[in-house]
Amino acid sequence: MSGFRLGGGPLDGAEAVAFRWRGREMTGLRGDTLASALMAGGVRLVGRSFKYHRPRGIMSAGEEEAGALVTLGEGARRTPNLKAPVVELEPGLAAAPQNCWPSLEMDAGAVNGLLSPFFAAGFYYKTFMGPFGGTRAWMFFERFIRRAAGLGAASEAPDPDLYEQVHGHCDVLVAGSGPAGIAAALEAAEAGLDVVLAEQDFETGGDLLADRDRSALGAAREALAAAGVRVMTRAMVFGVYDHGVAGIAERLPAGGAVRERLHVMRCARIVSATGAIERPFVFGDNDRPGVMGAEAARVYVRRFGVAPGRRVAVATTNDSGYAAALAMAEAGLRVTLLDSRERAPEAAAAAAAEAGVEVMREAVPVRALGGMPGGAVRGLVVGRHAGGGRARPVSRLDVDALAVSGGWSPTVHLSSQARARPVWSEDQLSFLPAPGEVIACGSAAGVWTREGCEASGRAAGREAARGLKASRKKALEAPEAGGWEVAPDAVWEVSAKGRKLKGFVDPMHDVTAEDIRLAHREGFERPEHMKRYTTLGMATDQGKVGNVVGLAVMGAAQGAGIEALGTTTFRPPYAPVSLGVFAGEHAGADWAPVRRTPFHAMADAAGAVFVDAGRWKRSWYLPRGQEGLRAASMREAAMVRETVGVCDVSTLGKFRVQGPDAAEFLDRVYSNLMSSLPVGKARYGFMLREDGMVFDDGTVWRLGEADFLVTATTGHAEHVEAHLSRWRVRWPELKVAVADVTEAWAGLAVAGPRAREALGRVAGGDISDDALPFLGVREMEVAGVPAMVARISFSGERAFEVYARPADAEALWDGLVGAAEAEGGGPYGLEALDLLRVEKGHVTGREIDGRLTLADLGMPGMASRRKDFIGKALLGREGLADGNRPRLVGLRPAEAGAEVQAGALLYAPGEETGFGLGHVSSIADSPHLGARIALGFVRGGLERWDGRMVMAKDPTAGRDVKMTVVSPVFVDPEGERLHG
């Protein structure tokens, strides 16, 4: 079938656009949507429904589409569940139907329709989660059910396209570019405001696009340009958030660098001119292909020059059906109009009749008849309407399309998202937006005439300008909701005595009116309960067409009105938005920013393998030849114990604490005394949290009387900065400043028995024990650059930390690594550093997990008794003094080489239940001892367990390993290497 394109339409003469539907070559016109092009090509059956696999065609001309869901693109670019009426036809577009197997016409799943009595709302829950089958039966059947029901399938390949996010600001955002939106934008722009007009369609104009005479549209576009309005097309305002933040998803034309763009727009005012959505009403088989919205039929004829059929019936409950009938009759189609009401709008009825429309009053469709290929409509049973949807079948009408208008729902989504709960109007039979942060106008505020919409838009624009003090003109009176000549008829569902009709409320989720009554019978009466029980409104259209009808059917079952039920809450997004839009550029190389130390390039050149530590790339190990992590790190650790190693420690947090009260400040934030520290010396220290738990450990260097440098662990650097800053605010009496200088110092640790010799090769100052004793700090030149040298050790070896300007990193690296190599050593990485510290029993973030006190770590002496400090007050809590708390211990597997992981739980032998004694926190293969060692925590600590056996259980790995509890200091417990 072909030839549905009408002559003389607005797309006449437009460029032909080739596309593929189900692999078949088709041609549309530039300016078409996929839906209009399919319709022009005579395609009626477009997909199969969600649950019953019923044939579905194009039902609308907008985001509310519930029938024509298609999958677009192929391979990695396959996108499911797109609505054909809002897919812009672009050359090369490839689209396919979904949820049909083996083919669209011969669908095996359609048998579900025959079994529909069993598939009513709640069927799955009752059958598979009830007492008989139980969840095991559900688990078994689920995969079959999931395969049979559903929508399209997304691609599993990585998305090859680029998405981006842009931050925007404007004075006034107007959502929707119909007559109301244009008027609002112009009014605000004329007041001198910066206005953004966002239109989800690829063309501006809204309802103006369906005008026969396009001169108003042209004039409006010129006026917008002249007024400096920033017009965005293909840009949907999908969400309104607190304080005037709006999310706008912009689709970009195919072929560009970016596929979709998220605009996070901060708006001083937001105007919603989003129009209204026509809703259907329920009658028998109202979901057949060829049954569509009356307004949609008008749009297809007027905007795209496409006929929905040749012989069309319009069924309406309100005045708007006449415009659709008129448009189709003027286009040369045979049209019969069924008005459910007794009274018709006179002028509209006369104009329709003059154009050749046959008008039937008090007439409703009782049932759509099928029979055409693919179940498309071929006629209908006409009923005489006795009010309230009750009808008596009287005749048959042969038609190939049925255009239905059951009334209008203003698109209140944006207002509702801004927490203005929509209010039911019995006059308009619509939920109207409540006044609030978002200014609604036009049909979005229930104004139904062109003039009314323009006036409403002007008033909204003026209100925005006045609110922003950009206009001193007086407020314009906005027209009230309304504008119909004859009141709309409250017809929600057609019933005929003695006839069992299957009518759909939510065609996208196959929810029937009967399902809603079932929900009522079973007690799911509130809108939120009904929604979840029937899944009404939970499909990708989020109830745009079905919700109001569903509420009305529920209301009727309860004998209550819609206003008594209320509605569900609208939340962003207004319509589905690609996940890529929210991911934006934060994928691939830009997934997260990477932090590199000043020595990165040098370590890289030395062959380092890097590991992610938070955002840092840290030098992990520097393999030689074919060495892996284990071999390289063990060699590096052994090198440090035997000669000397150089390690990048730039990632440590560093803070300059200055001021006359700096020492007092540090006394308050550290558990041990810092004010007694002499200038030129460093001290190891602990910070506790307010609750007394250990927060971080680091060193404090006194550079001057009122000048300190504080270091923090890499992982806690930002938290420590916030902690220092927070408490500084709480002690306004202290004259102290804290500057984050983490990035200002590039640091290398030089450690090992030959460390002094190595450093001595390049140091410009005296580093003898006298000049630079343990924990001494001195400024001097190192490798020809100014540096600060401190004798601090993490590895337990004689060691120095050397800090210089990042700009001097290369000189420092070359000098120190070269010197270490000359002493038989070289660079080492994070893994070796970890081995060395486990050997020494030094704790890191693995141990300091926020649940431990100083006593638990075996360092109760670090809590000063001579002063007050953060955490002291709660350190004395009874539970923390319990000698049976888990305490730091060393562990060794009883059998050499037994596999055990950090995180394994520790139990007393024979009592291997419950939480046990503690856990393993760190594991290392000690090159020095030639054995596997571990740190961990055991209730009662060494005092109770020294030398005894515990069981390390690792249920995830299925391993039980016997371990002996030992001292956590495996190497040099006397500290001879450190000082020697």
């Binding site: 916030a722 927070r726 007050d868 007050a873």
Partner: protein
């Protein structure tokens, strides 16, 4: 959500760190009971409330923001360090 920084103006929530209620902390030598109260026994006010925020990552300033935690309406902001609040003149305020 947007929040006002008196120095930088209104900025996105993502530029701020929430730091809990704006409350008085016990002195370091206060008895354990007071600290238990401050650390563990917090009020959970509904509606208009004073909160401590920090404009970080941003200018790093600590703020007391008076805010309704139901409607999210912001009623005002001041600098949390009293001396700084005093040092900020009226003409310096951008929000």
């Amino acid at each position: 959500m947007r929040l006002p920084c008196p120095l930088c103006g209104w900025r996105d929530e993502g530029e701020f760190a929430f730091e809990g209620p704006a409350m008085d902390w016990p002195s370091l030598d206060a008895p354990e009971a007071e600290w238990v109260e401050a650390v563990f026994l917090r009020e959970q006010p509904r509606g208009r409330t004073e909160e401590l925020w920090r404009h970080a990552p941003g200018c790093g300033t600590w703020l007391v923001i008076e805010r309704d935690n139901v409607s999210h309406e912001v009623h005002g902001a001041r600098l949390a360090r009293p001396g700084e609040e005093k040092a900020l003149l009226k003409k310096d305020r951008r929000a």
